[in-house]
């Protein structure tokens, strides 16, 4: 048995010295380096590659590129399974494994294939008209059935084991496509000294020149390609990117591209990504992406063995594969004859050539003679015969007589569409050009030029000319001067006349417009009949152009038929808007490195390792990881641990990392004035060496953030913000300064990262601190009272800052040292505190203690509360203007029944409160109308021995003592609570000042 029966004895760009073994649907085949999966399967005589979406019709290879609608496979297995992969662009590698998809149980015998009768009901939009009765059956019956039939390939069920990365490139000129136009553009631009990037999605440069037998300057085109590539390689500012698809054009000359770094091997080598997603920043770009050949709509045009004529040439010339032995060509233009020519050159005989034009050029007639082929001028193929691949075609000649011809390959050509997709990514509309019978680029995005076939200039000579011209123009426009101008290479003669036919009428059976989505000419007619006449309606109603190929081969025929149905010209219907990506892009490549733990940066406090050493459990707080609590061996649950930590602080001393708080250094003569304007309370009178609690609003009157700000020197303040809002507050302050009040002398910078900061809290905290601070610093209650703030030193001169502030309500301090000393500080504090049983505590205990003291935090500062709602309305100064002042005074925000902060305690001390419960008065029905507020935060108070909560309640402060219901239907709970003061512990604040 011949291993590759359809491989030509010689020719092509495959490496016949090496053999690659691969599997398709479990069967092993051989191919060569340089093959695609499609070419290797064709070489082995495999024609049937997949099934269509709706009717499960057998489908084979139509094209040779990324436009392929039919030959889709699942590539690789397990976690690396890639559904819907186009066999026409899969580079063959040793051990490749591919499986056909959308069939059951097997590709050859698919029980889901729809027969003609059922098929006739499944026209465009059929589901809009049925499945409505009975209503309940949709989710239970109809939809599951429809969904089961949906989709083509199966996604992998496991995490992708490969690595992806992003990269950013900058250039003067980006050239998209390395065919004749692109190569000559890159060359002229490169010669001028411009920085050029040349991208091509193929794994070999040359574009259509790889597929054609053409001559440039009297020699085989391959020689010109080789010489051009050699010169490009020698230009240091030119970068060539293979296997790289430019998929989108975005604002300001930014292109998205994906580089398939290692898709041509079974598994990426160690340390290398599978793919790389590029953002390419350009000054100019040249689109030289060529053109896509159009198929012809006729009954049975989807049967495997029907292939684009240009693709046939590519398989013969580039891959050395003959996709069939009995060949018929059906063409509406000269391009089909190029295929005849190349087949003849390869020593292949043809059965027949059907040209829809009645006049045939004499040279073509001679060619047909050499091919031994019959010629049907003015004829058309009306049907194909066969099962899983073509065995014959029915030809109608110019007299209307039908002839059945046996064949196993039908090459079709209906002219070409410029690959202009990128030109419409910024809403540019292609325009119909009657001369070339194709849509060509309309208004171009700034900085983009289009040349060669992509501009509808289809001859090789035009491609070379456009490339040279556009490359030079781009370089000149950005200031480069070409040193000399080389003559444009000459080419052999060619003609590219075409008189497209949008469908062959008269035959029987389904004639497909969109192969993958099974949209037929009848569907287009139906859409027209039902009023879906705009091209966008056509697309949405019939799904034309919505498959994985985005209608690259089908759109134009579809809208041409619509134009015909509605009596309009194609130029009037226009096309749908092409959206990015040009070709489907793996999600991994767009995500790059940012997945799993690397999804977003994690911020670690300078004391992080110390906390870990202490056994901390960490919690995500915005970007930060913070120590949540520090379980000790034997502690059963977090509540035990947190209770121990709280009691340690309340009775002895505890230590908590607060480095994550935002810290902003603000200096300048007008700092106090600035603070007056951004905070609701007064700052001018704050003495040096003191801290004050401040609350800032957004301009709309709602609370933005809170924190303490200290006056370190006359004109030097240190503001702290909450961990979560640090960035937002910094941006807000910069706005206030730069935009609102630039004349104020205020200079600010974030110093959040510079200082490691620890809270030392509890009745013994002063004793611990005394041990740490250098002796010169007096921290007695008199010398360093509540809210004192001062620069100090530790360990013989290390600069530090000490604040007597307290979130816990205990005698407490916060000590800050340069971050490099953060860990040393924690160790020193632990050592100094060990006689007092110093206990590290986390954010959970911190949260309990702030709640016991009625301090508001994240759950209350939720952007929906005003200062008044939080019981802080009295802080609002009436003597000055400040951000948010006026909007906070709107009538609804002053209404007494706005939910306002209160404390809550369970009537039954054993019951656990839950944040998120809503308040309903006793005896009222639990519904929206009776909803009076909700529980914002809860904690178990070790000091009180029961759960406590803060909440926002209508008329709250006036209802202290009242009992209400805290309903939590979503967790099936309802608890009766008593409204109380939000301050649960040490209401007089004696501990704080102790």
């Amino acid at each position: 048995m011949n291993a590759q029966p359809f491989r030509l004895p010689s020719g092509g760009l495959v490496d016949r010295t090496q053999t690659l073994s691969f599997r398709f649907d479990g069967k092993t085949y051989d191919g060569h380096p340089g093959d695609t999966l499609a070419s290797a399967l064709l070489a082995n005589g495999v024609r049937l590659l997949g099934r269509s979406f709706k009717y499960h019709r057998p489908r084979g290879v139509l094209s040779v590129g990324s436009e392929e609608p039919n030959a889709l496979v699942e590539l690789r297995t397990g976690a690396r399974r890639e559904p819907n992969t186009r066999a026409t662009i899969i580079e063959l590698f040793e051990g490749l494994e591919a499986t056909s998809q959308n069939r059951w149980p097997s590709l050859g015998c698919d029980f889901l294939s729809v027969d003609r009768l059922a098929g006739s009901a499944l026209v465009a939009g059929f589901y809009y008209k049925t499945f409505m009765w009975p209503a309940a059956f949709w989710e239970k019956l109809y939809e599951p059935v429809i969904r089961r039939a949906a989709g083509l390939g199966r996604a992998a069920r496991f995490a992708d084991p490969d690595h992806y990365e992003k990269a950013f490139a900058f250039c003067d000129v980006l050239v998209i496509g390395a065919g004749p136009a692109g190569l000559s553009a890159a060359l002229t631009a490169g010669r001028s000294g411009a920085r050029v990037i040349l991208c091509d999605e193929d794994f070999r440069l040359g574009g259509r020149l790889l597929a054609e037998r053409r001559e440039i300057d009297g020699r085989p085109a391959a020689d010109w390609v080789a010489a051009t590539l050699a010169e490009l390689a020698a230009l240091s500012e030119v970068r060539t990117m293979l296997r790289t698809s430019v998929f989108g054009l975005y604002d300001h000359g930014i292109f998205g591209a994906v580089e398939r770094v290692n898709d041509h091997v079974a598994v990426p080598p160690a340390h290398q990504p599978r793919q790389r997603g590029w953002r390419i920043y350009t000054k100019r770009a040249i689109l030289a992406s060529g053109a896509l050949e159009r198929p012809i709509v006729f009954p049975g045009n989807d049967r495997p063995g029907v292939m684009l004529a240009g693709a046939v040439r590519a398989y013969v010339n580039r891959f050395g594969v003959l996709p069939g032995r009995e060949i018929v060509v059906f063409t509406t233009g000269d391009n089909g004859w190029a295929t005849v020519c190349d087949l003849v050159a390869a020593g292949v005989r043809l059965s027949a050539i059907v040209d829809s034009r009645s006049e045939i050029d004499p040279t073509f007639k001679a060619l047909a003679e050499r091919a031994g082929a019959r010629v049907f001028a003015g004829g058309a193929v009306e049907a194909t015969q066969g099962g899983h691949h073509v065995r014959g075609v029915v030809v109608r000649d110019s007299s209307g007589k039908h002839t059945t011809l046996s064949c196993d390959l039908l090459a079709v050509s209906n002219g070409w569409n410029p690959t202009l997709h990128l030109t419409s990514h910024q809403n540019g509309r292609p325009i119909w050009n009657e001369d070339v019978q194709a849509f060509v680029p309309g208004t171009l995005p700034p900085g983009l030029a289009v040349g060669g076939s992509a501009a509808g200039r289809f001859t090789l000579a035009q491609a070379l000319e456009d490339g040279a011209r556009l490359g030079r123009e781009a370089a000149v426009e950005i200031g480069f001067r070409p040193t000399h101008i080389e003559p444009i290479p000459t080419t052999d003669a060619e003609t590219n006349r075409v008189k497209p036919i949008w469908r062959v009428r008269g035959g029987r059976g389904k004639a497909f417009v969109d192969f993958q989505n099974d949209v037929t000419e009848k569907d287009v007619e139906l859409a027209a009949r039902e009023g879906f006449r705009s091209v966008e309606h056509l697309k949405r109603y019939t799904t034309l152009g919505m498959a994985t190929d985005q209608g690259k081969t089908s759109n134009i025929a579809g809208l041409a038929i619509m134009a015909e149905q509605t009596g309009r010209a194609i130029s009037d219907t226009g096309t749908t808007v092409f959206r990015p990506p040009f070709t489907p892009v793996a999600i991994g490549a767009l995500a790059g490195h940012h997945r799993g733990k690397d999804f977003r940066p994690v911020r670690l406090a300078p004391t992080h390792d110390w906390s870990r050493e202490q056994g901390a459990v960490f919690v995500e707080t915005g970007q930060w990881l913070r120590a949540q609590y520090y379980p000790k061996p034997g502690e059963q649950d977090w509540l035990t641990t947190v209770t121990r930590e709280v009691l340690a602080v309340r009775t002895g001393v505890g230590l908590c990392d607060v480095s994550t708080l935002g810290k902003i250094d603000i200096q300048g003569r007008d700092t106090a004035e600035f603070l007056e304007r951004v905070y609701i309370n007064g700052w001018k009178a704050l003495p040096v060496g003191k801290a004050r609690y401040g609350l800032m609003l957004r301009e709309d009157g709602f609370v933005m953030d809170d924190g303490t700000t200290s006056r370190l020197r006359e004109n030097h303040f240190l503001m702290t913000t909450t961990t979560a809002n640090a960035g937002k507050v910094m941006q807000h302050l910069e706005f206030c300064h730069q935009v609102l009040w630039p004349k104020l002398d205020v200079r600010m910078v974030s110093v959040s990262e510079q200082w490691a900061q620890a809270a030392i809290a509890g009745p013994k905290s002063r004793e611990v601190l005394r041990d740490i601070l250098d002796a010169v610093h007096d921290i007695s209650n008199e010398a360093f009272p509540y809210l004192a703030a001062r620069e100090v030193t530790v360990n013989g001169g290390i600069p530090a800052r000490l604040f007597r502030i307290s979130f816990s309500g205990e005698l407490a301090y916060e000590l800050a040292v340069p971050a490099d000393y953060g860990e040393a500080m924690m160790r020193a504090l632990m050592a100094a505190g060990s006689p007092h049983g110093i206990t590290p505590y986390g954010t959970e205990a911190l949260g309990v203690m702030r709640l016991e003291k009625g301090h508001v935090a994240g759950n209350e500062l939720n952007g929906q509360t005003t200062a008044r709602d939080l019981g802080l309305g009295k802080m609002m100064s009436s003597k000055k203007d400040f951000i948010g002042r006026l909007m906070a005074r709107r009538e609804a925000l002053l209404q007494s029944d706005r939910p306002t902060l209160v404390g809550l305690r369970p009537i039954n001390n054993a019951e656990r409160l839950r944040a998120g419960a809503h308040f309903i008065s006793m005896g009222r029905t639990a519904n929206t109308d009776n909803d009076e507020g909700y529980m914002t935060s809860v904690a178990y108070s070790p000091s009180l021995g029961h759960w406590i909560g803060l909440g926002l309640l209508k008329n709250g402060p006036r209802r202290v003592g009242e009992r209400i219901r805290a309903v939590d239907p979503v967790r099936n709970s309802e608890i009766h609570v008593e409204i109380c003061s939000p301050i649960f512990v040490d209401r007089e604040g004696t501990r704080l000042h102790g």
């Binding site: 979406f53 976690a79 690396r80 819907n84 009901a121 589901y127 809009y128 008209k129 049925t130 409505m132 209503a135 949709w138 939809e143 969904r147 089961r148 949906a150 989709g151 390939g153 199966r154 069920r157 496991f158 995490a159 992003k166 930014i254 599978r274 953002r279 809403n427 009949r529 039902e530 309606h537 949405r540 109603y541 799904t543 919505m546 994985t548 959206r579 990015p580 990506p581 489907p584 892009v585 999600i587 991994g588 790059g592 940012h594 799993g596 999804f599 994690v602 919690v619 995500e620 759950n859 952007g863 929906q864 609804a892 998120g916 639990a926 929206t928 909803d931 935060s937 239907p969 979503v970």
Partner: protein, 416 residues
């Protein structure tokens, strides 16, 4: 012609030659009782409910392009009523109830699929906020369930539970939420409105609003002037432009929101899932494509397209949530222009000009509201008083402070 399995079979036997246009391609008459400006989902629904609920059928819907060319054809098709604030919850629940009977009412299968909407949470603060919201829903009679991490895992085993930067703690599930075939909503309303006598006028762009003595009397269009007793503006991202024709400025900015769809895949995702730690939501369409949505691009825009940073952001979140997506390919992405209001909630109200009514500010949540929006707007236009369930959507709420700010981000439209 009534749609049913019988009409379909009978037409199949006749080669489908008997189908009529789903709606007439009407030419504008000189005048109407009500002009609805905007042939999107909300506008068509408004016209339908004017005709079906209020007996006002001398109505034209004017659309500058083809109907459904705006956001009703560009969204991620999600419906839900999992809202927090009292101004919102009952309104969106009305919408949900209308969705539930929509297909029978319209005789058009829009594939309303109540497959469930699951919002994941990743932190205690988020959990508390979701609990508050879930309870608000339950108090309003809306279904809501809290599920824990293990229940999420049993529903969606392929998400990242091991290496996630923001671990999944649990989720808020609204079982009645789901998806709808978005284009079909526009077509279904258009067909139903048309059958009740409403004129659907495509390719008719409004270029001016006639105001005489403080009263709107008609519009100028690319197809000539049209008189009207009442004019209802329902033009989403173009609200400010139309309002400007009437001399009004609105608390609205137009922003671009992108949406994404993958290649078609065999079914693997059974619900709508949102990733609370990144701006991402995913569902799978009945055709098999995974549909992704994320944050708006963040700057004022009338271009129906977006840029790479948000695309990458959404795909990063997708990979972070679901690491098996690496080899799934993004097929297409596009953008719609959102009428982002200053508190993130819509406006359904009289304009300060007599005879002029405003329906705008839907931000990127307009699709799910389509039936209720049309229903309540029709009520307002017909009766000249707000529908009780849409009474909070007043234009003066910014002045009074009765804001409906679900996210609590304040007067910055790009953050809602």
């Amino acid at each position: 012609m009534r749609y049913s399995i019988f009409s379909l079979i009978s037409q199949a036997l006749k080669g489908h030659r008997g189908w009529q246009p789903a709606w007439r391609d009407a030419a504008p008459k000189p005048g109407y009782d009500v002009l609805v400006i905007g042939g999107g989902g909300h506008g068509l629904a408004t016209a339908y409910y004017l005709a079906s609920r209020h007996g006002i059928s001398n109505v034209a819907v004017l659309e500058k392009g083809y109907i459904g060319s705006g956001n009703v054809g560009r969204n991620t098709t999600i419906i839900r009523s999992n809202y927090l604030l009292p101004g919102n919850t009952p309104f969106y629940e009305l919408s949900m109830k209308l969705w539930e009977g929509l297909e029978q009412e319209l005789n058009y299968n829009a594939m309303v699929s109540q497959r469930g909407v699951l919002n994941l949470f990743h932190s205690d603060v988020q959990r508390d906020a979701f609990a508050r919201r879930a309870n608000a829903m339950r108090l309003a009679g809306v279904d809501a369930a809290f599920i824990d991490r293990e229940q999420v895992r049993s529903m969606l085993p392929f998400l990242d539970y091991e290496t996630s930067r923001f671990p999944i703690q649990g989720g808020l599930l609204q079982g009645r939420g789901g998806t709808v075939r978005h284009d079909a909503v526009a077509w279904g309303y258009a067909r139903a409105a048309d059958s009740r006598g409403v004129d659907i006028v495509q390719n008719c762009e409004v270029t001016g609003i006639d105001i005489v003595d403080g009263r709107a009397t008609g519009v100028q269009t690319t197809r000539g002037p049209i008189k009207a007793k009442k004019i209802a503006l329902v033009v989403a991202g173009n609200s400010s432009r139309l309002a400007a024709m009437a001399g009004m400025r609105l608390p609205i900015e137009s922003h671009v929101l992108q949406a994404f769809v993958s290649e078609g895949l065999k079914p693997l995702l059974d619900c709508v899932v949102t990733f609370g730690a990144g701006h991402l939501y995913i569902s799978q369409s009945d055709k098999g494509g995974l549909v992704f949505g994320g944050d708006i691009d963040g700057y004022n825009s009338y271009a129906q397209r977006g840029n790479l940073p948000v695309i990458e952001d959404v795909m990063e979140a997708a990979m972070a949530l679901w690491p098996g997506l690496g080899r799934v390919r993004l097929l297409r992405h596009w953008g719609g222009v959102m009428d982002m209001s200053m508190d993130g909630s819509p406006i359904i109200d009289h304009a300060p000009i007599e005879g002029l009514y405003l329906n705008a500010g839907w931000c990127y949540g307009g699709f799910k509201a389509t039936p209720a929006s049309g229903f309540c707007f029709a009520y307002l236009v017909a009766k000249d008083e707000p529908h009780p369930l849409a009474a909070a959507y007043r234009l003066d709420r910014f002045a009074t402070g009765r804001l409906i700010d679900e996210k609590g981000v304040g007067a910055q439209p790009n953050l809602h």
